[in-house]
Each structure stands twice: as C-alpha cells, then as structure tokens.
C-alpha cells in the first residue's frame, strides 16, 4: 500500500482527537491544578490523601477488584462452554450479551432495586418458599452485584472472541500428545486467551472503579465510592477544582491499565467485538 497516502486517512481523526480528547483533558488538568481564583495549587491532587477520600478510593478499588474477579470467574467457563458447543454463529452469541444493553442502563439498575428490596420480588419469592429473606440492598454486596451485572458482557465477549479464534486442531494436537483436559486448559487455552482476559479485566475494572450511579441506586447512597465523590463535587458541592483534581488521580489508574494492555495485548487481538 502506498503508505503516505493511506496515512492521510488517519488525519481527520487525529484532528478530532486533538479537539475532543486532548483539549478536554487539558481543561481537566487546568481545573485540577488551580483553585477557585485561578491560582496554581496542588491541593486538589493532594486532597486524595485525606481520610474520606482514601476510604472512598480504597472501597472503590476493592469493590471493583472483587467484581472484576467475579466477572472473570463467571465468564471464563461460560466462554469455554460457548466455544465448545459452537452455539449458533458467533454473531448470535455477541447479540445475546449485547441485547440487555439496549435496555436503558438506569432502568436495568432500577429493576435490580425492585428485585432486591426488602419487599422486593426476590424476597417475596423467598417468603413463599418459607426461606429467610435476602438483605443485601444498600450494602456493598448489592453494589458488587450491580457492577457484575452491568459489566459482565465486557468480560464475556473479549474472552469468547479469543477462544473462538483458537484452532480446534491445536487442541486435538495437545490431546494426541497425551494432554488431559486440565493440561489442555492450563497449557493451551489459558495462555492463548490472555489478551482477551486482559482486555476484559480493563473493560470491567475501569467503569466499575468510576461508577456512581450503581452505588447510588443499589447502595442507598450510604456507601461513598470515589466516583460519587467526584460526581458530588461537580453536581452538588460545586467545587469543580477538587473534582477535577480527583479525576486526575483516577486517571493514574487508567494509565496503569493502559500500560498493562500495551504489554500483553501487542497485536490488538483481545478485542471485545
């Protein structure tokens, strides 16, 4: 291909990125590094070290790590099953997991509230069955459930995609050479699916780390996550500078995820869709 002329094709988006990704990011940095009067300060960044913010950050990190792990534990066997059965065509599998996303995210999370509430659907069913009620609404467990529910597709799809690409002959070869099921899994499937796992982890971990809607609706606002802190600084506390400063700290975690991706996902194989 004529490299110079094809490279031009990337320029429109380059301009777009400069305008709509880089400049807004610089705006955040400007707000984060100044106070209300516009004077330079590092207070907004250092504010993350305060007890409340550390607590919120720690809680967000642990909840999102737990939900990422649960997503992974649910998704991997699921992706294996889907691969083995060659269920339908690949696009059909993708659709099954994308379809819930066509129902509004807020409505879906509200629906979980209806399911989990003290007098909710699940507890009504349990009481009919004479089982003890489930009291997880307004607790961290409900938030984890909400995160797993909302971000599960982001884990299933990339893993399924890499698994589906593995040639059956590779597996057959392993079997012919005497590997049992467990060995095939650990020596063949797992190593080959690492790009998918990594990209799944990032796609679940980042939104889970920054969510505020899920913790508001399912946590009864009693549990403060770092996303809630930032949202409140912008929409209620009206201290935009502090909100921007904390967002910059969050971006550090995003940078870490990005370097992880760059390290393991050299070929861009671990794509979700």
């Amino acid at each position: 291909m004529n490299k110079k002329s094809t490279r031009i094709l990337a320029y429109p988006y380059l301009v777009w990125m400069a305008g709509f990704t880089v400049i807004p990011l610089l705006m955040i940095c400007y707000y984060g590094l100044t106070d209300r009067t516009g004077a330079f300060t590092l207070d907004n960044i250092l504010a993350v070290a305060s007890t409340e913010h550390m607590k919120a950050l720690w809680l967000s990190l642990s909840l999102s790590l737990i939900s990422t792990l649960i997503c992974l534990l649910i998704s991997y066997p699921l992706a294996l099953i889907l691969r083995q059965h060659h269920i339908g065509k690949s696009s059909f599998v993708v659709f099954i997991f994308i379809l819930p996303m066509w129902m509004n995210f807020l409505l879906r999370t509200m629906a979980w509230q209806t399911l989990l509430e003290k007098n909710g659907v699940i507890n009504s069913l349990l009481s009919v069955l004479r089982l003890p009620p489930l009291a997880i609404i307004n607790t961290p467990a409900a938030i984890i459930l909400g995160m797993v529910y909302n971000f599960l597709p982001f884990m299933v799809l990339p893993i399924y995609n890499v698994l589906a690409k593995i040639d059956d002959n590779v597996m057959n070869a392993a079997r012919d050479l005497g590997a049992d099921n467990v060995t095939t899994l650990t020596k063949i499937l797992l190593p080959l699916s690492i790009p998918g796992i990594i990209s799944g982890i990032t796609m679940v971990f980042v939104p889970a780390l920054t969510t505020f809607v899920i913790s508001n609706l399912l946590g009864g606002s009693k549990i403060l996550l770092i996303g809630n802190v930032i949202e409140q600084e912008f929409t209620r506390g009206s201290n935009w500078n502090l909100g921007a400063g904390l967002s910059m700290v969050l971006m550090v975690f995003i940078l870490i995820s990005m370097t992880l991706i760059a390290k393991y996902d050299k070929n861009g194989e671990g794509t979700a869709f």
Binding site: A10, P12, Y13, F20, P24, L78, G268, F273
Partner: protein, 641 residues
Amino acid sequence: MIQTSYAKLKRFFENFYLICVLIFLYAPIAVMMVLSFNSSKSRSQWGGFTLKWYRQMFDSAPIMEALYNTLLIAFLSALIATVLGTAAAIGINSMKKLPRTVFMGVNNIPMLNSDIVTGISLMLMFIAFGISLGFRTILLAHITFNVPYVMLSVLPKLRQTSKYTYEAAMDLGAGPVSAFFKVVFPDILPGVLSGFLMAFTMSLDDFIITHFTRGAGINTLSTLIYSEVRRGIKPSMYALSTLIFVTVLALLLLTNFAPAENGKEPDVSAARARFKKGGYEKWLLTAVSFCIVAGVCYTSWRHLAAARSDELYVYNWGEYIDESVIELFEEETGIHVTYDLFETNEEMYPVIEAGAVLYDAVCPSDYMIQKMAENGLLSEINFNNIPNLDQIDPVYLERSQSFDPQNEYSVPYTWGTVGILYNTKRLAELGIPAPTGWKDLWDERYQGEILMQDSVRDAFMVALKTLGFSMNSTSTEELSAARDLLLAQKPLVQAYVVDQVRDKMLSGEAAVGVIYSGELLYLQEEAESLGLDFTLEYVIPEEGTNIWIDSWVIPYNARNKENAEKWINFLCRPDIARMNFEYITYATPNQGAFELLDEEYQNNHSVFPDVSELATSEVFQYLGTEADDYYSALWKEIKAH
C-alpha cells in the same frame, strides 16, 4: 457407556450454567416487562393487567421526542464514528511504531476514562469555547467516545488481510480507490459492521456523558429517565423499553437466519459475493441514508418552526408544573416555550453562570437565589409587567426577604416545609409511638427503617435543629456537633435518598422518611388508589424545620426578559396557580388560588401550616463558598464513614 453418561452429565451442567447466567442477565428485563403491564404505578404492587401505559407512551410528546433524539444521535454518531474510525484504522495501520503507539494511546482515552471525566471535560471545553450546549454537543461527544470502539473492531480485521491482494489488484489495473473498495473493504467489512453496531449500542446506553453535554429542551431517553428516577419512573418508560426490546429481539432472530459473518477465516470471495449480491449491507445503506435525510429534514423544520415565533426558555425542576399550563400560555400569548428541567440547585447554577444555555426564567430555591444575586447572575424584575403580584400573600414576600432583601429579583412560586413522613402500620408493628420531632430519628428501634435526605443542607438542618442551633450556622463547633450526631444516626439509616423517598415509602420499605411537605398529598392519594394496607402521615417536627421557597427569577443573560415577565405574571394568575397546585401538590403562596381551593385542602395543616406552628423554623441562606466547602467536607466524612 460410562463415557456417554459422563458426557451427558457434563452437557447437563454446562446447559444449567448457561441458563443461570442468562437468567441473571435477563431477570431485570423481565421485571421491567411485567411492570409495563402493571396498572398500578408502584414498583412493588401488582394492580392488574393493563395496556394503558403503552397508549400513554405513544401519546406522550416528551417520550416520543426523546426516543427520536436517542435514535438519531445513536445513528448519526455511530455512522460518523464508523467512517472516521475506519479511515483512521487504515491510516494507522501504515504508520511507524512510535506514532502508532501514541495514536492508540490517545485513542483509548475516551474508552478507558471514566464516563464522568469524559463528560465533564467535554462540557468544560464546550463552555470555554462558547459552544452552546444542545443536540450538536451531544452528537460531538457521542462520536468522540464511539470512534475507539470502531477502531478496536476494525484494526484486527485489517491485520488479518494480506497487503498483497491490494497490490495484486493494483497490478491488474485497478485504481487505488476501486482496489480498496473491491479488495480491502470486503475483508474488513465484518469488523466495520460490528464496530458500527457497538458504537450504536454504546450511544444508546450512554447516560453520564449525555447528561453533562446536553442543553436546553433536548432529552434522550437516558436523561428523561434520570429526571424521572427522582420522582418515580413512569410505567410508560417500561412500556417503551419492552417495545424496544421486543423489536430488537425480533430483528435479531430474523437476521440470525441471514448469512452469518464469521470472522475466523476471512473468506474474501464469499464476502465479496455477498456484497455484490446485495445482501443486508445494501439494505442497511439505504436505511441509513433514509434516516439521515429524514433526520435533517425534521431538525431543520423544527428549527425553522421555532425561529418564526416569539421565544421563551424556561428552566424548572422536574415535574414542577402542570404541562397544560405551558400549552395555555403558548395559546394565549403566541410565545413558543422551550421547557427544560434541572435536578438540583447546584446543577442549575453552573449552567446559568457559564451561559452555556441562555434561559429566560428559572425557578431556584431560596439560598440559591441569594447566591445568584450576590454573584450578579440575576436581573431585576420589572414589576410593572407583573400586575398579578398582588395575588401573592404578602407573608411570603416578607419571608423572601431573608434571601432577596429588597424583593427585587424573585416571585414566589411554591413553598413548604421539610418533615417526617411515617408509616402508621409499620410503627405499630415496631411498637413505637408516632414521631413528634427530629430527635425521634435517633431512636434505636428504627434500625434500618429511616430514609434520610441525601442533600448536605437538609441533612445538617435535621441535626442542627435537633441540637437547637440555627440551620444557617457557620460555627465550627456547632457543625462538628451536628456531624457527630449524624454519624451516630448512620447505622440506623436505611438509605440516603432525594426523591426516591416517595417510591420507597409507598412500597413500605421504611417506617419513616424525611420528606418535603409537597409530596404528602400525592403520596396519600396514591396510597389510597393503590389500596395499601397502611397509611402515611406527616409531621412538622417540634424543633422547627426548613421553610423553603422556590421562586421565579430572570437570569442576567436572558434574551427575552419581557416574555419571562409575561410568563411569571401568567403563573401568578389564581386559576393557573390553582391548576399547578392541583398537579404538583406543593403549597402555593398565591392567596387568590388558595381561596379557589377545596376546603379539604385549605384545612390541611400539613400542607398549609399555621404561622404559629412555624415559629422556630427558618429559611435557608447562602453561607458563602467557604462555609459551603466546609459543609460538604463534613458531609463527605459522614458518607465515607
């Protein structure tokens, strides 16, 4: 034999597992579907089967418009993002390693960044560059976060294609353009299509970014739903979702029997043959172009229609007006009203301050009016244009003086108190007498039964009043004492909520809730019509409470000040004020309207308390940024605890 039964068992477990995950994914959707047929508005009471929400949905102009906006934005942004992203992916593929890595790094930012940061940063930029928020800005924002998804699905496909086929085509005499469309494009088409689909889905599902980048009079389904979350979601939303779901599912099942596109082994000839044959790609292309033409026609028609008549931009709380009042106003004056909603005072303030959208009439609360006036954001109202002001009971103008000392910026619209709503049956079960004051909210027997207000000032008001301090206190000792009190209460609190208290009290989730007096009539009527087995009562706490007043003001940058005055005057007309009262059930300061009300309402002391009952109550004042920051820092401590 053992082998087959083992395989059967394995197969059984696998299917079982699959079904469990699918139940998990689709259970909430099933709930929504059931609710869409529930004749009761409550989320937890089944009132019988009905189709009325479906009728209501088609009749509702805001829902239909939001649906239209959502689809148009999803479609346009996905389309533009697909073109931009595919071109960029091709370009990037022939770049050297370093620029490519940088390019991909920047490209990943919107996808990896939290939505809230992306949304806010875009909003900051639009405001800084004076781009007024609206349809355009939502579209730009959606394109921005959609392109990375397109690139992510196109790039791997590009890597799988062989560059030799392209060169071979050129050798055989094809031009670069035709070589691309005949050789490369069919190869990457599955990636392009799935990128488009993904972008469409992400745009459809986005709430946070839209929330921050939208402007006056424009709603997508997400933002419309969000404004309803506060006051209980209308079942017609569930009806709409069900309809969307069923439609998409049907389309899916249909297309699933169409030729599959398995990306495993790019089979060039088959893909090309399919494209030539005119498969669904061509059909898709036709649909795309049709939608764009229709969309452009519709928006430009709306634009023209709007430009012809007189304009008025109104910014009000959600569900804070009888919508037929707007129609009446438009009919009588010929002024076209663009009506927009905000959720909190704090959210409204920066919008006015930045001039991101130029509103003519806004309805903030007491302390916020003071803040706006002090910062020069309000323009004095010309009261010569508001003869109906004499209908407003002078008592409320006097009260307004605590935030608008000269009565020059504001005209009272609604007022009320904050108090305790309690579930009589639940209290009897718990063996607790009816609450009389705020102090009862520290009764240990209420473990997990209290719904507190999730707003800084209101929560602190409760604690400060309990301690006998002023709710406008700025003393650090008083505030620390209040914080300690709220911390002590936290284990008893079920949830901190704003307007969800209505829904939760109706479904019997909690025994007591801190609530605005205006909600009372609605709740009691609703409880009655649902035939609930408990009643809800309201008490104004004896320690005193917050008397709040929401008033109409005109921002300094209003473009249609006289129309705004006409609007305010219209709302002060007794018959109109009465219509609004009966719809929103928040107490009216309008004496003329009060006299028109049924006696039953006039004698309702919870809604219209006597002056003597409010001796210890106060109106919120703006305390300055420093005090604001102090309050929110303390509140964060409580929340994080």
